[in-house]
Each structure stands twice: as C-alpha cells, then as structure tokens.
C-alpha cells in the first residue's frame, strides 16, 4: 500500500510500473524479472484506475474478458471466464447486458473483475475507491481484500486516504514529493512516525520543545518524557490528548467541531497549538480553558535526522 498526499507521485509510480510512464532512470523488477524495457501490454501488470474506463461499445462480458483477448482465448471461453468473475464481484444479475446502466460502484467492480480476468502477475490499484459513493466503499474494499486474498495476487494499491491505507494494507509506504519517507506496518506509521512530515500526514500533533532533566518544557508547564536533553520534536495522536485527568498544561479551546462519533478540538497555549478528539458529551465549548495532560507513554519522540 502506498499512501501520500495529492501530487506525491503515487499514480506516477504505478504508471511507471505498468509501463504507461517512461522512466528517466532506474529499473523495475517483478518476480526477479526486469520489466521496465517492456511495453505496457507485455508486462502482465493489470491496473484498476480511479475511473472504470469501460468500453461502452462492448457488453459487460466482453469488457471483463478483454484481457484474455490478447492471449487469443476464443470468445466463448472468454465470456465463460468473464461470467464467473462477474458472479464473484456480485454483478451476476447484469451479466447479459451492457455497461451503460451500471452505477459508479458497479462499474468499478467491473473494472476489478476485468483486471483479475487478465490473470496478472501484479495487480495495481490506483485509488480504486475514490470515485465510489462513500456508503459503498466499505463493501468494495472488502471485496478487493477477499479477491486479493483468494487469488494470492501481489497487489500494490495507492491512496491519499490514510484510514483506507490502514484498512487495506499489510504494509504501508508513505510517499511525499516523490520519495518514500517511511515504510512499515500500519500501526508503526500511525504511532511511531520517523519524520515530522510523516507524523503530520498521519494526523498526529507535532510538538517542539526543549527537554531537560527528563522533562519537556512546554509553555509554563513541564511534561515528563524519556530521552536525552536538548531540543526535541514529539508526536502524539489527538485521541491520546487527555482533558479528563486535569494535567498541568493550561490551554484554550479555539475551535470545536462536532463530527458525529467525536468532537475535534483545537487547543492553544502561547505558540503551541494541538488537536484533541473527545467524546461529544465530554467536549468543552469553544473559548473554554482546559487542563491538558500529554501521557508520557503516548508521546513519541521523533528521531533526530
């Protein structure tokens, strides 16, 4: 799974792997075989794009079976194998028809079936859920994970959505401005980012301060921390910022946004500003003064570079 903000180069990377983008330098190997000198149609890397890219002049079965066309599979067999995949992605009821009447989610399922029907060595998913209705995303995500697991096909998926990356990826690479900043399991990226940018991308608060004698001096309070003395950068998740146990850091609520399952608070003290997520019934109002605790166990000291 590759995650990163818009413009990070995620799609360019997938295009380079699939052969749609010419490389300026570097080499690409899949299964030990160098593929960057091969044209796209010879790489055996199927792509599910952000948009389904179905061919309106072909019916559903021929759309799904298009990958078998290049291998010279007879039309009857192509359609039989396509029908089996269409059934698998839950579109069996539409198998006899065209693609024009399909909804966005159904079209993306068709695109997924089409990619799998080509029996690729490597499956590339370019934000396949981004154009799908939010209510249908989870079912499509489950389907992708199930098919990927059943077929044991190596898959690289890119997204800008960190939650989606965490749900779908066994391993996540964070990509920013064309570089992979960190590659790890989801929990490590969400809890122990190696850079300040990674911390910010994964939604953590970043706190700069001076450590002396095992304590971080922040505004007019001191917070116990581990590690050597000196300037340091810490990260903490908004869910870990504790307002209930009356900590030593006094802050003002400058913004309070109700988001259904939690309230997002923006807290400020001097130049320091952090975000906290609290349950709606425990949320203070905007303008209130609160005492904040930053638990030592939840504070992550970002390694110096």
């Amino acid at each position: 799974m590759i995650v990163g903000p818009s413009g990070a180069g995620k799609t360019t990377l997938l295009r380079a792997i699939s052969g749609l983008q010419v490389l300026d330098q570097g080499r690409i190997f899949v299964g030990g075989k160098r593929i960057d000198q091969l044209p796209a149609h010879k790489r055996n890397c199927a792509v599910v794009f952000q948009e389904p890219r179905l061919l309106a002049h072909l019916d559903l079965l021929d759309n799904v079976g298009i990958g078998l066309l290049a291998r010279g599979v007879p039309r009857k067999e192509r359609r039989l194998r396509a029908a089996a995949l269409i059934e698998e992605v839950g579109l069996g009821a539409f198998a006899g028809g065209g693609v024009k009447g399909l909804s966005g989610g159904e079209q993306q399922r068709t695109a997924l079936a089409r990619a799998l029907c080509a029996e690729p060595q490597l499956l590339l998913l370019d934000e396949p859920l981004s154009a799908v209705d939010p209510n249908r995303r989870s079912s499509l995500m489950e389907l992708i994970l199930k098919l990927q697991s059943d077929r044991q096909v190596t898959t690289i998926s890119v997204t800008h959505d960190r939650a989606e990356a965490s749900e779908m990826g066994q391993r996540i690479a964070l990509m920013i401005e064309g570089h992979v900043l960190q590659s790890a399991e989801p929990e490590a990226l969400f809890e122990r980012p190696e850079t300040e940018r990674a911390a910010r991308f994964f939604g953590m608060n970043v706190i700069r301060g001076e450590v002396g004698g095992g304590r971080l001096r922040l505004v007019d309070s001191e917070i116990p921390v581990s590690g050597p003395d000196g300037d340091a950068v810490f990260a903490i998740r908004p869910e870990s910022v504790d307002l209930s146990s009356g900590g030593g850091l006094e802050m003002t609520v400058v913004e309070s946004v109700y988001l259904g399952s939690y309230v997002r608070l923006r807290l400020r003290a001097g130049q320091t500003e952090i975000e906290s997520h609290v349950r709606p019934r425990e949320a203070p109002t905007s303008g209130a003064t609160v005492r904040v605790s930053l638990p030592e166990s939840r504070l992550w000291r970002i390694p110096e570079r």
């Binding site: 699939s18 052969g19 749609l20 044209p39 796209a40 149609h41 010879k42 790489r43 055996n44 890397c45 199927a46 792509v47 794009f49 948009e51 890219r53 061919l55 002049h57 072909l58 019916d59 079965l61 021929d62 298009i66 990958g67 066309l69 290049a70 291998r71 065209g98 089409r114 990619a115 080509a118 590339l124």
Partner: protein, 268 residues
Amino acid sequence: MLAPAVVATLLLFGGALAGAVEQSFTPPLGGGLESWTLDSWREVLGDPTFVDAFWFSLRTTVAATFLSACLALLIATLMRRHSAGMRTAVAFPVPVPHLIVAVVAVLWLAPGGLADRVLGSLPLNLVRDQAGLGVVLVYLFKETPFLVLLLLAVMGRRLQEQEEMAAVHGIGRWGRLRWVIWPAVRAPLLIGSMIVAAFVFSAFEVPLAVGPNYPPSLGTYALEVTKANAIDGAGQAAAALLLGAVASIVFALAILGLFRARREPSER
C-alpha cells in the same frame, strides 16, 4: 428544438431540389408542369458523355474519399498527442476555397508549371490526365484535414485513457486500434466520408480546373450542357445532377448498411 434546422434545410436544399425536379420535367419551350415531359431525362440517359461523366465522377469520388479517410485516420492517430498549434497547422487547408487550391495545383503541377521548372520534369502528368489523378490529389489536400479535424474531436483524453486501460490488460498496438480507437472514430469517419463523397461527386470547380477535357465530371457535364444548349440544356443539367444526388443517397445508404452489418456482436 430541431424545428429551425429542419425548416432551414427544407427551404434551402428541399427548395433547390424541388426546383431542379421541376426544371427537369419542364418542356424546353416552357408551358409549366401541366405539359410535363421526360425529354430531358431521355436526352441525358441516352448521352454516352453523361455515362462517361458519371463513371469518372464515381471513380474519383471513391478514390478521393477512401484515400482521404485512410490518410486522415493515419494523421489523426499520429497527431492526437501533439500541441494545439500543430493541430491548427494541419487544419490550415480547410478554410481555403477549393477553386484556389485547384488554381495553385495548376500553377505548380501543369506541364511547364512551377514544379516542372524546379524539379525538371514531373514523372506523372497530374493536370488534365485521363485518370483524374490531379482531381483526386486536390481533394486529398482539401478533404483530409477536414476529416482529421472530425477525428481529433473524438480522440481526446477519454480515448487515451481507454487505450491505456487496454494496454495494461495486454492488448497490443493493433489490438488497441481494432478494439478501442476504431469503434470510437468510425462513426465520425463514416459521416465525414459521406459528406466528402457527396460533395466531391457533384462539385465542378476542381474537375474544371484540373480534370481532363474528356471525360468531364458530373458537375462539368451539367455546366457544359447548359452552355452548349440554350433551349433545353437547363433541364438536362437538372436531370444529370438529380441522378447524381440519387446516386449519392444510394451510396450513403450502402455505406450505412455496411457499417451496421460490421458492428461487433456485443454492440447489437
């Protein structure tokens, strides 16, 4: 919504056609449609020059239309990822009148013309040749860019994305042309070719300037009978051009029928 366009078409083209029909059945010395006659039609159909003109026009029309369609498909496929400036340059001949192109062709390609002076002698006689090569060349120069413009209009980003999709599913260059590009371009190519064919079949300026003295084209035949026969020439010209119009319609219907019959099974 379509009413204004339908009314304008009926008035302009329907009116002209009705006038031609009336003219072709009107007795040479007048008298109106009460005393209508088939004389003009008999004269035309019995005239071997008309038959030769018809076949000459058909030949040059089929050649010019087919070649310009093929060339347009090739150029559009090669040009589609070029800049707007390049596309505009390719479209340059579209607004230039046919007659000007024909006159320039004569200046350059006629024996003793500019090309002769620059290159010595040309290997082929393109102006006034019996096969109508010069006529076909002028139409190629004029009509190919028109068809290229029609094709480029459908060869946008969407088609490029579909080509990419086909490529990453294992479809090679020719397969993409067959399964992705051709289905997208064939309708505009067909419609454009029909327009080109209908125009070339009955136009007279280019054959008049570049074509052979004999056989004439259908258009030049109509012009010549009108000039040669002041009494019933107009009726014969109308009959000849109406026959040309009927042939154009039959030709268009045949192409449409072929187009429908050749569609993919899953498109039906």
